[in-house]
Assembly symmetry: C2
Homo-oligomer: 316 residues x 2
């Protein structure tokens, strides 16, 4: 069978099936943002994420420093999505011949800056030659008092977003257009930075949070993960989807709706969660969890079903 | 500066310098086989290792099942080298378009078989598209009651090897010669398997062990790491170096000495350690730790200094 037929999520299902049996000490195995295990009475979170040149990044418009930042950021985001505190980071780098010592130092520089912001220590990893492409693979260890999974959403819960969506997707478009040149103007620079150096942030208060995920593949896909895992439906309101002034302004110049970027754009690394609270100060309520069905309501009040559309590896 | 000038070990030194400061909870940071951190009163070991197509393996003579075995084996070996018990494994796979679902299942198959042998649970990871090369990056978490580092060797300690050396190096040579065909004969098949599917084993009793490392880059390099970190010298005896009957037999056919493979061949993944014990049942004593200098004594009793020669990434 071809990977393009079952896609990334089909493959994860197969892997889950193959590895699925619970072993001693495992609280959460394959399939959530991070795994959770017990060690000495504590709950340890572990997550691993990789960035491959030519797939996740293009060195024509990404600096080594930005790359170092991003490989840690995507891993941090997974720990935050589980309600955890990141602690330690390991980084494997596959290095093609054209990279010099300074390039690698710059990767570490970008990584270290973000690491100290979040009190994360870089404790190990592996460096190796690599044929053609630069490959970064990071693993993060964190701790959590209460682990928040994707499967706790209940009917009546509100659906919340803690940040703006779509910036990273339009940022990537701009970067591709300017082909290695700096994008001109404050707004475009901001959007490019949102793609190159995402800044995931933890949710401070999580008592009322019932399910959580980070938006990495796009709102519709990631909300669908929560619905799938929790066995619930959802209704969201187009008008409530939070996007930045910068996205609004730049997309109006290109004649495209900011909504497309916000619904299907990936790599925003902001938290999407469900909560028993009516409102929260730190996040925007974009809809409600229902018994079944997945719908989006447009500005005229028209209800349309939505599918899990966005970014998926291997799919054509 | 070019990587080929400072080599892998020079790069690790640079990285260690950049990340070196001790943070709370870190017992051992960058530079040993695994990192060690404290969590809830327990000592957690974390190590990460990657295999890159075209650098570490060639799919013309490596099956996906063997690859799955090996990515776990190299990580297991790091935990054993610290005197730890492996517990959990995360695996990131960067998958080029030509790989099918069954190939990935076979990687998991090989991994799972070895995992159950050592009671390790596969708890997570990331799958992603990859440009041209298959990339596997694994991270292992283990526990240890007493962590054994590279820096505890003391003058008068014996130097021990828990297995035979050089099999993997000659196995790789055979594989390259037969170019994707099966090697003929029991001996060659055995040696190829030692390269493709190394079987690291833990040391049962470690009370008298003062320093330990796994032989991954070759005996001379890995013993030099112990000497460097412990600030000691070493004398080893050519005649004591353990190698298999298979290595002896096959290398005699090619007219080369088995000793070259045993001293400089990498990827044997057997344990090299120093101990206060005179002899051990589970390992061969090959020499002694001294105050300074690094020497090898040949069969005629002639003493020659040795250098850290073997495999190093990036070096020309």
């Amino acid at each position: 069978m071809k990977l393009s037929e079952i896609g990334e999520f089909g493959l994860i299902k197969e892997i889950k099936k193959a590895c699925g049996r619970k072993a001693e000490g495992i609280l959460i195995g394959i399939g959530d943002d991070a795994a959770a295990v017990k060690a000495g009475g504590k709950t340890i979170l572990l997550s691993s994420d990789m960035l491959v040149e030519g797939v996740h990044f293009d060195l024509r418009y990404t600096s080594y420093r930005e790359l170092g930042h991003k490989i840690l950021a995507v891993n941090l985001s997974d720990i935050f999505a589980m309600g955890g505190r990141p602690k330690f980071f390991l980084i494997n780098i596959g290095i093609p011949e054209r990279c010099g010592v300074n390039d690698i130092k710059n990767i570490y520089g970008g990584m270290k800056r973000l690491a100290s912001k979040h009190s994360v220590a870089i404790i190990g990893g592996d460096t190796s030659a690599s044929g053609r492409h630069l490959v970064l693979s990071g693993t993060i260890m964190g701790e959590a008092d209460r682990v928040i999974t994707r499967n706790g959403a209940r009917q009546g819960n509100g659906i919340f977003i803690a940040g703006t969506l779509g910036d990273s997707a339009i940022g990537l478009e701009i970067l591709k257009q300017v082909k290695g040149q700096r994008a001109k103007g404050r707004e475009k620079t901001y959007l490019c930075k949102r793609h190159l150096m995402p800044e995931p942030e933890p949710l401070e208060k999580t008592k009322d949070v019932t399910a959580m995920i980070d938006v990495s593949d796009g709102l519709l896909i990631d909300l669908s993960h929560i619905c799938d895992e929790s066995g619930v439906g959802a209704v969201i309101y187009e008008e409530k989807i939070p996007f930045s002034e910068e996205l609004k302004s730049v997309s109006s110049q290109t004649g495209r709706s900011p909504l497309g970027y916000a619904l299907k754009g990936g790599e925003d690394f902001v938290l999407l969660f469900t909560s028993s609270a009516k409102q929260r100060k730190d996040a925007v309520r974009i809809g409600e969890i229902t018994g079944r069905g997945r719908y989006i309501i447009d500005s005229k009040g028209k209800k349309k079903p939505f599918k899990a559309e966005g970014y998926e590896h291997f799919r054509k």
